[in-house]
């Protein structure tokens, strides 16, 4: 059958993607500019055998999502900056206890209440380091409405496959902009499910060190009688403060992400083959950057676009692959300098970095980026 074609907002496309991925539980709290995700799932979930809960606050929403996921249910929440701050403790709990879930943060201008209805990319480092302690993280970031649909499915897939929360960042522009989206009857992207135990209930270890780096996860209610704690734990799930056991856990948590970068990292490049000027941007800023690259090419400047889609873990390879070929690398983001510092670190001085930074609640315009290209050409 031919796919249904719809004119959707990014937030609506995110909901379609989540439903395609098999989401059956949403808990959330109203917050601009992500509220449409909650509103639409409140309407849709009961129609597909799912459940929606509006919680008393952002912290409770994150907690309920983790609880739901432990019963074997695909679960998600959505928020914006202030709520993302409040969710951080339980987000860390989910990372540490390895409970799959998806957390969408439709970024507004911050800090604090900031610019609730304006776009920004100020939570990029918070997505990486917002929760306390040493932890790996996966964060993806679409630049268009169709991509919001696809990436939501992929976010669920990564979450299930690696037993970890996945953050999907959007900015207000991607969240609220409307574009044409093709919704296939059956998702073109294969749907992943978390690894399930194959051993007997008596022998089940929720953090088994001998089952690869992503140990199988049983459901609460299936008779495995296992313990989940935010305390440092050994493979039995019970708390431990033994340094040798702690080391095993922390290292496995990092390894399960770092050893699978080829699977986790996604990026897009355009006109990079012969590029002398690279432009790196993500989210809606990448749209302006793509336009700036086209305009530069029209003027005979060999510019190219580098767009990270998985923004965490940091795509070092994307930078190292092109750093030596470039005369200059322009990094554009809607903040006063976050991701650019990571780019600079990865480039290791092989290419000078030009910063195009803006935090005023407005999109970075293509001509602003073009001007930066002209300055470094």
């Amino acid at each position: 059958m031919s796919p249904t074609v719809k004119l959707l907002q990014g937030n609506e496309a995110c909901v379609e993607g989540a439903l395609a991925a098999g989401v059956k539980f949403f808990a959330g709290y109203p917050i601009t500019p992500s509220t449409e995700i909650a509103e639409l799932l409140a309407e849709r979930l009961p129609l597909v055998g799912g459940r929606f809960m509006q919680m008393e606050d952002e912290i409770a929403s994150m907690a309920a999502v983790i609880g739901a996921s432990l019963t074997g249910t695909k679960a998600m929440t959505a928020t914006s900056g202030p709520g993302f701050s409040l969710k951080q403790e339980n987000l860390g709990f989910a990372i540490f206890t390895e409970i799959p879930c998806v957390v969408v943060n439709v970024m507004r201008g911050g800090p604090s209440t900031g610019l609730p209805t304006s776009p920004a990319q100020g939570d990029v480092m918070q997505a990486r380091w917002g929760t306390h302690g040493d932890h790996p993280v996966i964060a993806v970031y679409p630049a268009s409405v169709p991509e919001a649909y696809e990436l939501t499915i992929k976010a669920f897939n990564l979450s299930e496959k690696y037993r970890t929360p996945v953050i999907m960042l959007m900015d207000e522009v991607v969240g609220h902009m409307r574009e044409k989206v093709e919704l296939p009857d059956v998702p073109q992207i294969p749907i992943e499910e978390r690894p399930r135990p194959t051993v007997s209930k008596e022998n089940y270890l929720p953090y088994d060190n001998n089952q690869g780096d992503v140990p199988p996860l049983a459901n609460f209610g299936d008779g495995y009688h296992f313990h989940v704690t935010g305390l440092t734990h050994d493979q039995t799930g019970f708390p431990t403060s033994a340094p040798a056991k702690a080391k095993v856990l922390y290292e496995r948590l990092h390894r399960k992400i770092e050893n699978n970068l080829d699977d986790i990292l996604m990026w897009e490049t355009k006109d990079m083959e012969d590029a002398e000027i690279g432009v790196l941007a993500y989210g809606s800023t990448a749209r302006s950057a793509a336009r700036a690259v086209s305009l530069a090419r029209e003027q005979g400047i060999k510019a190219g676009l580098m767009r990270p889609i998985t923004i965490w873990p940091f795509p070092e390879k994307l930078i190292t692959q092109y750093a030596s070929q470039l005369k200059s690398l322009v990094v554009a983001e809607m903040n006063l300098g976050q991701y650019v510092n990571e780019v600079e670190r990865a480039a290791q001085g092989q290419v000078p970095i030009k910063r195009v930074l803006q935090a005023n609640g407005e999109l970075i315009r293509p001509d602003t980026i073009l001007q930066a290209i002209m300055e470094v050409k």
Binding site: M55, S69, L70, G72, G221, L231
Partner: protein
């Protein structure tokens, strides 16, 4: 099989509670209640927060979730909502449930979601060595009330009732023999149930307030507890320093997950 063998995790013993602590007595009452209520072992989930009392989940041989401070109820709500067939029991402390978790507590009451909550009330933050909690009586000493507590305490049972919980009871560690029956009723109530289990912390509360040995503290519970039936005949002045124990509230109201099921049935035209 002994209840301890069936329901406790031998590998987790010895527990970390101090000698004379009331938490073990309350845990025993919870286990007796689960057994007496006939809950299906595999379909029962224990959720706790952070603090001395919340370590109880790790000792219990069920699916157990030891969450973040104050958040046991929203984690438990997610479990119950995602799979209403599960029996969900929350074990929490006075600080966990009523200070950092206070907002979740009143909303769980309001929602009347089918969860049984047992509050291990020892009037103190024990895990962090004795700071005053929202249940520390005025005038009492703690490390953060070195001149006597001036911060008023809750009556958690009144709070639960006002916020919409449909079953509310109070007991004490001294009254361990009758506590399981109250918890059984809480479990059997189709809705949000609260049992305040008053216990003793001899290490951080008793010692600082010169309350004597654990036995003296248990005797204090005995002497200050008044059964709800007897309390009906006493004046407010006579009840001023008393703990009213027994079933304090039992009502019926629509349960949250059932309401959601009805909503689904209506939407799918099955009603």
């Amino acid at each position: 099989m002994m209840l301890a063998e069936k329901y406790l995790r031998d590998a987790m013993m010895p527990h970390m509670w101090c000698p004379g602590c009331g938490h073990g007595i309350i845990l025993q009452a919870v286990i007796r209640a689960i057994d007496k209520a006939g809950l299906e072992h595999d379909k029962t989930v224990i959720v706790s927060g952070i603090g001395c009392s919340s370590r109880a989940s790790g000792y219990m041989n069920f699916d157990t979730l030891h969450t973040t401070h104050g958040r046991a109820l929203p984690f438990a709500s997610g479990i119950k909502m995602a799979n209403p067939d599960l029996n969900v029991i929350v074990l929490t402390g006075d600080g966990d449930a009523l200070a950092i978790g206070g907002n979740h507590f009143i909303h769980a009451c309001r929602r009347n979601i089918d969860i049984t909550t047992v509050i291990f009330n020892n009037s103190i933050y024990g895990m962090t060595s004795g700071q005053y909690s929202p249940m520390t009586p005025v005038g009492q000493f703690a490390t953060t009330s070195p001149y006597g507590n001036i911060d008023r305490n809750f009556d958690v049972c009144e709070l639960a009732k006002s916020a919409g919980a449909t079953y509310v009871a109070r007991s004490t560690a001294y009254h361990a023999p009758s506590m399981p029956d109250l918890i059984v009723k809480a479990i059997n109530n189709k809705g949000f149930s609260v049992v305040e289990a008053v216990g003793q912390c001899p290490t951080y509360y008793g010692r600082r307030n010169k309350l004597g040995s654990p036995v003296d503290m248990l005797n204090w519970q005995k002497e200050h507890a008044v059964n709800v039936a007897a309390a009906a005949h006493l004046t407010p002045e006579q009840l001023a320093d008393k703990l009213i124990i027994g079933e304090l509230h039992n009502s019926s109201a629509p349960e949250f997950t059932e309401k959601y099921d009805q909503l689904v049935a209506r939407l799918q035209g099955r009603e």
